[in-house]
Subunit: 544 residues, 2 copies
Amino acid sequence: MATRRLPHDRPQLSWSGWGDPAASAPLPESLRAVLRDGLGVGRPTPAPASPAAVALTAPSLPEATGRELAAITGAEHVRSDHETRLRHALGKSTPDLLALRSGAPLAAPDGVVSPASHDEILEILRLCSEHRVAVVPFGGGTSVVGGVTPHADGFAGSVALDLARLASLQELDEESRLAVLQPGLRGPEAEAVLGQRGYTIGHFPQSFEYATLGGFAAARSSGQASAGYGRFDDLVLALKVATPAGTLTLGRAPKSAAGPDLRQLILGSEGSLGVITELTVEVRPIPATRVYEGWRFESFAHGADTLRRLVQDGPAPTVLRLSDEAETAVNLAHPDEIGGSPATGGSLAIFGFEGDGDDVEFRRAAATAACRGAGATVVAQAGDNWARDRYRGPYLRDALLDAGALVETLETVCFWSSLRGLYAAVGEALRDCLTALGTPPAILCHISHVYRTGASLYFTVACAQRDDPIEQWGQAKRAASEAIAAAGGSITHHHGVGSDHREWYEREVGSLSVAALRAAKRTLDPAGILNPGVLIAADRVSSL
Amino acid sequence: MATRRLPHDRPQLSWSGWGDPAASAPLPESLRAVLRDGLGVGRPTPAPASPAAVALTAPSLPEATGRELAAITGAEHVRSDHETRLRHALGKSTPDLLALRSGAPLAAPDGVVSPASHDEILEILRLCSEHRVAVVPFGGGTSVVGGVTPHADGFAGSVALDLARLASLQELDEESRLAVLQPGLRGPEAEAVLGQRGYTIGHFPQSFEYATLGGFAAARSSGQASAGYGRFDDLVLALKVATPAGTLTLGRAPKSAAGPDLRQLILGSEGSLGVITELTVEVRPIPATRVYEGWRFESFAHGADTLRRLVQDGPAPTVLRLSDEAETAVNLAHPDEIGGSPATGGSLAIFGFEGDGDDVEFRRAAATAACRGAGATVVAQAGDNWARDRYRGPYLRDALLDAGALVETLETVCFWSSLRGLYAAVGEALRDCLTALGTPPAILCHISHVYRTGASLYFTVACAQRDDPIEQWGQAKRAASEAIAAAGGSITHHHGVGSDHREWYEREVGSLSVAALRAAKRTLDPAGILNPGVLIAADRVSSL
């Protein structure tokens, strides 16, 4: 089957914030008043005016190495201009955006290399291993955990390996419902090229518009419809991976008993073990019916109990989400979501059903019965509003930061029996820490993903910025992370480890697990050039 | 919660064949006639009369080491008598049973150690690492791929680590639907202790009666109801693992983005990376309704197409199986399964539905519509007969071997688009090879497990034994394995790698994957004592 390459008219992600700059919106005056009166937000901290206003560390890559890279990809695919370096220096966490605003020079890659093939990537990795150049695989650049920031101490330099030119559908196997896709495809691009054939992946995380398939796989992304379609790591059936030591080709069946499932070693490896150059992903026919609806429960606890029963006893909706009372009331992330509804108390659930008509009706009837049995009531328009605004959350953050608010999110996951304790502990830790710093926060939470044995919690925190908001958030994040560890949660359900969660990750899986992973890394990446400092601490191995 | 320990009145697995010796049945005369007239089976090769009639290699474990082991577990839990060694020398493959019949001395462990706790296992592993004693973790002893045969070349000796004393339910978390269980519990024991509380794991492989939970996890077992409950590797949410380098504690949530899913490194590791000492397993309420039914399709291809549509478009049955025309007609493994039905042509499918009444009816109606649409007809009693005899297959093999037939099974899995080619290629390879050897075979096949993206094939082969039936089967197995590799299948869907599939496993995942796995093993098991020769070839590392 012929390779289908997409035209490269992709919208560019804002260099200083989230999304398409043309789609950013000013903060409503009503929200400004809430920030001012409720949280004491007062001192605007605007984003830099232009890329040129942001200082970057001086590049250190030897010119000769740059020429050798250019010989692999062609000179036009090795860029080291200021704006390109800046656009590959950071992800999209609040600390990233605050770092941009701080005026301090940012650690940026010395250059950005854009290969066109698996073989070019193998060559680049061999070259960079030989010259000890750190390589940061770069997809959409949407990491919120420091997953793309170069950590090049001890290296001759660093390059971002931008996968944008690997953006094709390679093969569609309709009988097996599998698509072979390249890693640089963004969410909407993959959906468009599959949609032409009548298929969808069904993976819709909040970062969908800009994140790439390679990133979804490398960071174990989870989409909003995970209850129906599965997480992205559930959907990846085979992988081709370029490493400094050669090629891995993993997965020739849905499941197998041929040893450990080594696909799972690459999924979640965040570019530290290899570069995913091809993914075989399960696809499904585009559903005939999509219905989203809102239900208001008396309390978060009542709603959580219903979500648990629906997913445990089935049949489960495709989307299940539940906001706590604070998020339901404030609805900071989606200010107009339930604007038309008569009351704002209780706890708002969103259920989505996607499939053919009979299946949707069967599942919807079960959910309706469960909700009614729990005393919940329908909230008109809430489902459609959620679907309309499902990717809008991050857009609001830029304006909030500009206005002087500190806004960030964090997420975790645990088994159901730990959920109440985890919810309480994280909220308390954030509240206590930020209140002690003189900036009492608003804390909102929702259950974003449910499983038969547990669920994830997604927190949004907002307060006034202090003088050093990066340090301020660092303290709050540390307090929350301690609470997560103590309450039995995982440090991340779908954001990944990056460099920000590394310490917590090592505590979570234990030093022996990290040692085993490091041993595997030494085999695949003997010079330790792949995304150093991400996932596991760099270990200084002698050069090749 | 109090630990619940089961009384140790477990039925003992036949030392020379399968199952409870009291439940073995003689071969019906009708079948003897088929063997004689159809396959030329003539020369009986009876099993040895008693354990004493089987020669074992001489033990080499230093007495002092035996005393040190006894100091850990108590002397009564270190056994080296002939029968105990014999009972831990082999699994239950046909080559294993033929080796017993061959008269040649069997490689047996020097001793059998039965620890009572995780900590005792840690001590045993440290001691054996120090003295370079090979350790074979031993659960039910039901491996059919050479997973428990000691490979002690280059070691001071070998011990089987029998996990029978770790056989308790540790904890039941009803809210999260999780049970913490010890690895030595056999299938029926786990179901009994959970059943008292109203729960089931839903994992029912053909080895269910004797295999243990630790083995299910270590070898990535798949049960007959995998379409409904998932494979065992889907059901394991957390693991505690003893390794020579210390303890791994993995899994604190259903899913997480905290790095690679390291549970998946242990699942499928077959005792080569560590000893699973505790499993947290998903449980479900015992279903109110269980219905099994048989449908006859015009052909295997028609039936396979319907199974694929049912699992891809849903709602799927809990059990889906489909015999090819040969298996449907001969029904060697279940001679009385469809005895009462009027015709034996076509291709017999078994569908099972387990759940609450509404759910069962919804799914059953969908399956009925799909079957009728494909022109299939109901086969009365076939479903109930299958359910009654679901664990009986291996019982028949002993009598067949005694009568002089060579009978063995093998299985594989691939994506749907490769299934027809894989089916044809494996059948042809087996037929060509055995016919060339002068023993034309009967070859039966069924689809045993289905996924949205693919399915497994389970072959049963029967022919007359030649002079050296181990070599005879070895040639047939090699021909089938080459065909599997060439047709894009995995060398095993649910039997595991053991030592028998090791070469094919290494070809399947590639040398770089094996090197990464070996590196992880060196970290967890620096002296290389854990199940040497299983999964990956032993690499001779200097002793600690």
